[in-house]
Assembly symmetry: C2
Homo-oligomer: 321 residues x 2
């Protein structure tokens, strides 16, 4: 007989009608769409059997330690390591699942929009009453199809971005830990990370967050880039080392940066915002916030919860068994 | 022997190095990048043999009447009727040329950027510190690939936009005065204008300005559209009847509108801006402002000037012989 009970659901983008299968299995859904404090999270988890994590809160060891009925943290997204204390989850015998197979379209199209806006400087053009006086100091932008775009991370999202940019007519190259079969179909060039930075007019970061990708775009990468380059980071802020980013914005290496997500240290966000605000297209990790993308994630996570409560195997297990 | 003399060049986006062929032919270039007043334009034209029109000024009958040496107004763009008094040009025996064959990429990619921004509401997401609380009143956006996009005007730019949207995965239909061969290759559906408005989630206006397209998007068109639709007008403001637009924004038929260009009556612009500013992605007709697009236009216009001064025929003649 399957284990049942209270299921905590966090995050503001959850269509609760998609949780029907959990209720039908006899569970009790408690949805908390607003950001939970550490104390609130700990209190909510104390009597929960499962936790669908779609919010911005961090599931600390402290919060997990008293969750004696908890079987699973079903993280909705890819970068679970930043939102769940993995060591504590292991220690308490929890299963942590993720949703790696979500459809790439939402983040890919959002990324394309940020590339177009950054490349043409459209944000600066909004609400102008006359076209700008283009000068040598503020030249007319170059067309996107004339730009070289380097993609760091050729997973499903990076591949989709490469397809869209190829349709636009850009030259696209990429870097990833391993060369990809997909490059054959698209005719993409593989380059080392530093070579890619030197080659690109626009560098697009689309890696998952992990210990090995933290700060991967650092001063040595910016040192390869030309003045006036564009950085698009629609993965996680922390992939880009923030002091190196500030220096690159300050010395003009980076003209415009799009970032979807924040650094954990608010003082880092505040300092970047204060000094470079108008040159940042900065959003709060919303690229995957489309109805279709969220539905696909929620449906996967719901299936992971049902499997965990049934002690069934699950291909989306990231931590535990 | 070719006629030579002063050539007036207006507009802020002109790369003067592209005017070399005019200087080599013995002409004297006078560039006026800032907006000319009617009196300044009249004074500048009085001794000019050719006029490369790349600015926002209107070449009135008054300004043209005393330009006794003038042979040609080479308009850089498509909508010359709004910038040149065509009747006066005919009366004074002037040749007016345009640049209809410019490459569509600049405007098409700009349009795609505005479609993505409007569809996801990205402007509202900039500088937010947390993702929004999505509610029934402010729901998470639908993915662009799930939207139906109707294109009004399937010229070279409309066709390119249709290609890009097809790559994104949208369903695309179109309306134009005549059915186009291109629809076959892209598999686009042809609809009447009102049917297209009823079918579309996003309506994209890409017609040239003319007497027959002025106010073509009027109250009868908006009446067909569903609540919360998106309007993208990256052609000329005046294609959309402004009172009908205000009503459609007011009653929620149009959630967001992108407009690239202004109405000639500043009080119309001011009223729209005051009431609906945050829901307008409004730019000052800059979509074609890329180095590559402008270079292609300038090069065409330069050839038209050389032909006119040589009394040679020109396929880009719009008015005159």
């Amino acid at each position: 007989m399957a284990y049942t009970g209270k299921i905590l659901v966090t995050g503001s983008g959850i269509d609760l009608t998609l949780l029907g299968p959990l209720e039908e299995a006899g569970n009790n859904i408690v949805a908390r769409p607003k950001l939970l404090s550490p104390a609130e999270l700990k209190a909510e988890l104390r009597d929960a059997v499962a936790y669908l994590h779609g919010g911005e809160e961090y599931a600390s060891g402290e919060a997990l330690s008293t969750a004696e009925l908890l079987k699973i943290v079903a993280f909705m997204g890819i970068g679970y390591e930043s939102f769940v204390d993995v060591d504590a989850a292991k220690e308490h015998g929890l299963r942590v699942t993720w949703t790696p197979a979500r459809r790439p379209d939402a983040v890919a199209v959002f990324t394309l929009g940020q590339i177009i806006y950054a490349n043409l400087g459209i944000r600066d053009r909004l609400d102008e009453r006359h076209p700008p006086q283009w000068t040598a100091a503020t030249p007319m932008p170059s067309e996107l199809s004339a730009q070289r775009v380097g993609i760091v991370g050729l997973g499903s999202i990076g591949t989709r971005v490469a397809e869209l940019l190829t349709a636009v007519g850009c030259r696209v190259a990429y870097h990833s830990r391993t060369r990809k079969l997909a490059e054959g179909g698209l005719g993409l060039t593989y380059l080392g990370l530093h070579e890619l930075a030197a080659w690109s007019d626009i560098l697009v970061v689309l890696l998952p967050e992990s210990q090995s990708t933290l700060n991967i775009i650092d001063a040595s990468v910016f040192a390869q880039m030309r003045k006036g380059s564009i950085l698009i980071n629609t993965a996680r802020a922390v992939l880009v080392e923030p002091v190196a980013l500030a220096n690159a914005l300050r010395d003009g290496t980076i003209a415009v940066a799009a970032i979807d997500g924040h650094y954990r240290d608010e003082s880092v966000n505040d300092a970047l915002r204060a000094e470079f605000g108008p040159r940042l297209l900065w959003t709060a990790h919303v690229a995957a916030h489309t109805r279709q993308s969220m539905a696909a994630m929620v449906e996967q996570a719901v299936q992971s919860v049902l499997k965990a409560l049934d002690n069934a195997p699950d291909e989306n297990v990231a931590v535990g068994h």
